[in-house]
């Protein structure tokens, strides 16, 4: 077993494009659930709608990249309004169900044969990302990095931009949550009726939170699609939402740095498990059939599912959370 390669891959995975996308999406989810107590199980839907917003604006309507970017984010705002208006007055479970349903609707609609000419069907949208690479300071054919970590120019660009954005949104969220606005969100999380009794319009604040977290999720989707230079409908399926939840819970809900740290650790662990499994197969400890074909992918999801359940049972406060503080929740 080549442990050096395994660890090196794990470190790379932790800083990779995938990790940064999850980090940004997790920041959005943290706003929703960590600070406001909203049960959003459709974060991948926000990612999808912004990614498609950008892709369709460019390929169908020849929009310049900056405009497409804005349209993509506006699409996320629209989705938040659409989901929030009916459900934010109701109990939390409703939002959970509606967000899952909505994210699947979005995926199925964009994937559908009927809308193929517009959204690319199951092939998705391609050839829209070039405009974003215009500012790429790196040479696509050169490798950049330090030590182990070396990637080609385009990837380096996305990774740099991605992590910069991740840090920017984290700082933004941090500033907001330190303010009275953030305090109101937290009060709604603790007890909506108490917040109302103190004169706060809980519905409107929840909506603002949904919009903010949704736009951040949309940003993650745009980073993903530009990074891959394609918008693939099946990249935006329910397991992605659950990955984001796992990353967030791992880091600790309601803490500033937990989305980034949680995402990095999550991807590192996932890469480790993939590589260790492959290593075990290579050295014959486990029969090859275990990870053959699509089975490897299934194993990864199994691990996430099990990990999520175990996390909630044993360490729901994650890395940064405080167990005692969690126990104070009036449930």
């Amino acid at each position: 077993m080549d442990w050096e390669a395994i660890i090196r891959n794990a470190v790379i995975a932790g800083l990779s494009r995938e990790a940064v996308v999850f980090a940004i999406a997790a920041v959005g989810l943290n706003v929703h659930f960590g600070y406001t107590g909203l049960l959003n199980f459709g974060q991948v839907g926000f990612m999808a709608i912004s990614a498609y917003g950008v892709g369709i604006s460019i390929t169908q309507y020849n929009a310049p990249p900056w405009l497409a970017f804005i349209i993509g984010l506006l699409a996320a705002v629209l989705l938040a309004l659409l989901l929030g208006v009916p459900t934010l007055r109701l109990r939390a479970d409703y939002l959970a169900i509606v967000t899952i349903a909505a994210s699947e609707i979005i995926r199925l609609v964009f994937r559908s044969v009927a809308l193929r000419n517009w959204s690319g069907g199951s092939n998705g949208i391609n050839g829209f990302a070039d405009g974003f690479y215009v500012w790429n300071p790196f040479e696509p054919t050169e490798q950049y990095g330090f030590g182990w970590f070396k990637v080609f120019g385009n990837q380096a660009y996305i990774i740099l931009v991605g992590w910069t954005l991740a840090i920017l949104v984290t700082v933004l969220v941090w500033l907001l949550m330190r303010s009275p606005w953030g305090r109101v969100l937290k009060s709604i999380r603790e007890d909506e009726d108490a917040a109302r009794a103190l004169g706060k319009n809980a519905y409107w604040y929840k909506m603002q939170s949904l919009i903010l977290g949704g736009v951040i999720g949309g940003l993650a989707g745009i980073v993903l699609s530009v990074g891959q230079s394609t918008v693939q409908p099946d990249s935006y399926s329910p397991p992605v939402t659950f990955f984001i939840w796992t990353a967030l819970i791992l880091g600790g809900v309601g803490r500033v740095w937990s989305p980034i740290v949680g995402a990095i650790i999550f991807w590192t662990l996932l890469s480790l498990s993939d590589n260790i499994l492959d290593g075990l197969v290579d050295t014959g400890i486990i029969p090859a059939a275990v990870t053959a074909g699509t089975r490897g992918g299934s194993v990864r999801f199994m691990i996430v599912g099990l990990g999520l359940a175990l996390l909630m049972i044993f360490r729901p406060q994650g890395i940064f959370g405080d167990r005692n503080e969690m126990m104070l929740e009036d449930r």
């Binding site: 500033l175 009275p180 606005w181 305090r183 603790e190 917040a195 109302r196 009794a197 503080e325 104070l328």
Partner: protein, 312 residues
Amino acid sequence: MTTTSPLAGIEASPGIAKPDPILVVDDMVKRFGGLKAVDVGHLEIQRGAITALIGPNGAGKTTFFNLLTGFDRPDSGSVVFDGRPLGTRLSPNRLAREGMVRTFQLTKSLTRLSVLENMKLGPSGQRGEGFLSAMVRPLWIDQERAIERRAEGVLARFRLDQMRDEFAGTLSGGQRKLLEMARALMTDPRLVMLDEPTAGVNPALTQSLLEHVIALRDEGMTVIFVEHDMDVVQTISDWVVVMAEGEIIAEAPPAEIGTNPRVIDAYLGARHDTPLSLEEEEEVLELVEQEVERLAEEQPDATPDQDEEEAL
């Protein structure tokens, strides 16, 4: 201690007019299923006085509170607050900002926020509470500091200042009641509605709570509070309103309320703090009756009184 109150000389009769009412309620009705939970024909609350709202379990007092403060919608009714008619479809937060604030029977401390943060939520019109302005700290930081100073002052008054940075969830039950009252004060209310403020609080703390309630009145606020403990009612209230079966059956100064025959009837002559009989509960809570009957079929030896208390 009440001095010559403006309520002196008012006739003790349900729905009687008051010299300077801050709140006037007319024809407020709320039905649950086929049952009338609240049916208040006319009620006036005197400004600047402490009014106690009493009545047997299930009389509809908390429901009435909910209706007045927007946590529930009446089927019909009109409310005039401080001379202004209020729609009955107003949301609780609007009403709170109008100056009508309430506390809850089961305290709603925001457990994972600190005591001080709980307090700082009270005031309305905080510039920092807007999404865009929140991002620009200089816009709201001065106001925030002023609010913090004020909050610390109120906390000191309630003797909670030591706990200012503790999570509200670590407070004892009695401390939470104090916090809830202190927090309500931060909203600058004109009318404070306390839902069983002394329930579950030890006698020493009760004394302290009552002093705070009196202080509220002395500072010009109007107070309505729901209470079961008749000693408390006698001690601090200026006026007593009695509800039973959703209706107001009596109003009187505290000294006369114990001898009011209708009130005695409402409590069926039993001591006011003993559990109520089976018949009353069935009249008031049709739903619970169905439950009891259904369960009584299976468990014929279950005692009805127990069911009553659990249901409430």
